[in-house]
């Protein structure tokens, strides 16, 4: 299998404090990887740096996406290439109707790839298909982006975008935070429906619970800015039983 994402010896600082100290990770096409670890281990930093969030300084190493240097690209260029970050806390954007946002974003990505813009009927058809399968009412799409949405609705809106944009790499940053069991199940089903041989996922979470729904191929343990152990899905169960303490000592 070809490597989709290659993170090599990545070192990242925020305000002169190093958060990632030489992190290495390879995600092949079609694989689902889980990244687990305690608070402050650098999981979210990794997801932000892959998506291109400003404020992080990469002091060493590289990130290749489909063999290209991801760090040289603007966030919007990364999106057009197929990188999608499902936010831990999706922002509310008052005054921007969800429908308008979805269409503008989709067409911006298509334009960047040299594709034609989607016609309004085609766009509406696609939105109706995916929103229907996620149980998102059309009424919600007329409102401002995430404005007045519950935690579960916000996450479903992230999955809706994932289904609409059809990215080749989905990074789910603590998708389970703030969700009750039912909301978690609905969002996870949406994610599972998107699993495909040409699509990879990186699932970042504290807890085993999410991985009962989205079953990973590979589990990594992060501690203090590094991947300290990798294994199969059974590693998650072991972590749930024993906690992270041993890894925090190991990394120290």
């Amino acid at each position: 299998m070809a490597a989709l994402l290659e993170v090599k010896d990545l070192q990242v600082s925020v305000a002169d404090r190093e958060i990632l100290h030489g992190l290495t990770l390879t995600v092949n096409e079609g694989e689902v990887h889980a990244i687990m670890g305690p608070n402050g281990s650098g999981k979210s930093t990794l997801s932000h740096v892959i998506a291109g969030k400003p404020g992080y300084e990469v002091t060493g190493g590289q990130i290749l996406f489909k063999g290209e240097d991801l760090l040289e690209m603007e966030p919007n260029e990364r999106a057009a290439k197929g990188v999608f970050l499902a936010f831990q806390y999706p922002v509310e954007i008052p005054g921007v109707a969800t429908m308008n946002f979805l269409r503008t974003a989709l067409n911006a990505q298509r334009k960047a790839r040299g594709e034609d813009e989607l016609s309004t009927p085609d766009f509406l058809k696609r939105v109706r298909e995916v929103s229907g399968s996620l149980g998102i009412p059309q009424e919600m799409l007329k409102r401002g982006v995430n404005v007045g949405f519950s935690g579960g609705e916000k996450k479903r809106n992230e999955v809706l975008q994932m289904a609409l944009f059809q990215p080749s790499l989905c990074i789910l940053d603590e998708m389970d935070s703030g969700l009750d069991i039912d909301a978690l199940r609905i969002a996870s089903e949406g994610v599972n429906a998107l699993r495909a041989p040409n699509r990879s996922m990186v699932v970042i979470t504290h807890y085993q619970r999410l991985l009962d729904y989205i079953v990973p191929d590979v589990v990594h343990v992060m501690s203090k800015g590094k991947v300290v152990r990798s294994g199969g899905k059974e590693l998650a169960l072991e972590l749930e039983a024993n906690g992270y303490a041993q890894y925090q000592e190991a990394a120290a």
């Binding site: 966030p75 919007n76 990364r78 922002v91 503008t104 911006a108």
Partner: protein
């Protein structure tokens, strides 16, 4: 020691203009007296400067420096240039009233077939007839005084009791071009009891017009149970000045819904005094400034609550880029009899560059004890977390900014009741945003 000496501003130009205006607008009796007194007031004070409290943030002595000579009455070539501009800025479905270089141009206006209950005259006609209702602006302010002394023409619109105008009226101010000059205009919009009308007033330039001066004013009255929707669009040439003063009087059980957008001109000021004189009335005034380069735009509103059971809402938004400067001064006066007043004022500004400047001056003066009044002000930059979210979804930086700016001003534009006019103003905002990219 540096002593600033207040120099009277080129009284010669004002006097010359006064002579020129007097030749064109005879007027007699009270009209002539008022104009003469107003000239004296202006010559005594000169252009307002920063030591005059109301003009603290808009120092015309520094920004405008001098009053330009009166624009010539438009000849054939000016009218031809204006006609081109009028087509460019035409609005569908309106009755158009065109002022070219400060003079009503009947050939470019839709004056035929006025519906029953609608009367339209030129200001010069009204002045010659000695109609003193156009005089009711407080000339203590030097720019109102200047305008009063030199007003040449304008439109006088009267809507009779019980009349609902099906078509909005569009007062279109066109500066045709040619040598920089000053226009002095005044309009009167009077709605009788239970009358309903929509008026849009816009300011544009013909090709080649640059550093001209618009000195405009409006006397507006809204009768009992009447409703006036009023939209003002300032799209003057990039080097132009626009100083406009308005006095609005609102009767009982009436609605006055005003909206203003400024994207054009170098220096502009809109100063309005709105007085709710009858109970159970509602006033809404919303505005948007979209500024860049060295543009300076000032909105100064005085909201007078004289009677009980009225509500007023003021919402003002500014987006300022480059070295632009936006000013909002809002004063709410609630007099002792005005119990149960519900008055709110909110101003928000978005600064897009380090050198952009915004000044907000909210003031409340309340003498009644049973009222709900409030004001708020917020100034900030675009939210980085929102920008990143949009960029992570594929929008380039400028497009992401444009989407957030449009959302920001869109919330104010929502207040425009007429669908066409709301789209028109939205389009003006979009033009500004597209020019940025």
């Amino acid at each position: 020691m540096n002593i600033a000496v207040a120099k009277p501003d080129k009284p010669d130009t004002a006097s010359d203009n006064f002579a020129a205006v007097s030749a064109r607008v005879p007027g007699a009796g009270k009209v002539a007296d008022t104009r003469r007194q107003a000239l004296d007031t202006f010559q005594r004070i000169g252009l307002p400067h920063r030591r005059i409290e109301d003009w603290k943030y808009t120092d015309l002595r520094a920004l405008m420096r001098e009053v330009l000579p009166l624009a010539a009455a438009p000849e054939a070539t000016a009218l031809a240039r204006a006609e081109t501009a009028a087509k460019l800025h035409a609005i569908d479905g309106v009755r158009r009233l065109v002022l070219v270089d400060g003079v009503l141009a009947p050939d470019l206006s839709d004056l035929a077939g006025l519906e029953a209950g609608l009367s339209i005259r030129s200001l010069s006609e009204a002045l010659q007839a000695g109609d003193d209702r156009v005089l009711s602006l407080d000339t203590a302010d030097p720019m109102v005084a200047l305008n009063t002394a030199l007003m040449t023409d304008g439109v006088v619109i009267e809507v009779a009791d019980g009349t609902t105008l099906a078509r909005p009226l569009h007062i279109l101010h066109i500066t045709s071009g040619g040598a920089p000059a000053a226009m002095f205009t005044r309009s009167r919009i009077a709605l009788g009891n239970a009358a309903v009308a929509t008026v849009v007033e816009s300011y544009v330039a013909g090709e080649g017009a640059s550093a001209y001066q618009v000195h405009d004013s409006a006397v507006i009255s809204v009768g009992d149970h009447a409703r006036l929707d009023y939209v003002r669009i300032v799209e003057d040439a990039p080097e132009a000045f626009n100083i406009t003063s308005a006095a609005v009087s609102v009767g009982a059980h009436a609605h006055f819904n005003a909206f203003g957008i400024t994207t054009g001109g170098l220096v502009s000021r809109y100063q309005a005094v709105v007085t709710v004189a009858g109970s159970h009335s509602e006033v809404q005034t919303n505005g948007v400034n979209l500024l860049n380069g060295k543009q300076h735009a000032d909105t100064t509103l005085v909201m007078n609550h004289d009677v009980p059971h009225c509500a007023s809402r003021e919402g003002f938004r500014a987006v300022v880029d480059d070295r632009g400067h936006s000013v909002f001064q809002g004063r709410i006066n609630v007099r002792q009899p005005a119990q149960q007043t519900d008055a709110k004022m909110m101003t928000r500004a978005l600064l897009l560059s380090d050198e952009a400047e915004v000044d907000n001056k909210p003031e409340l003066e309340i003498f009644a004890d049973d009222v709900t009044c409030g004001h708020g002000a917020a100034v900030g930059a675009l939210d980085d977390s929102l920008l990143f979210y949009l960029r992570a979804r594929g929008l380039p930086q400028k497009e992401a900014e444009a989407m957030l700016i449009q959302a920001f001003v869109g919330e104010a534009i929502e207040a425009i009741a007429d669908d066409n006019l709301r789209e028109l103003v939205t389009a003006a905002a979009v033009r500004w945003l597209e020019a940025r990219q």
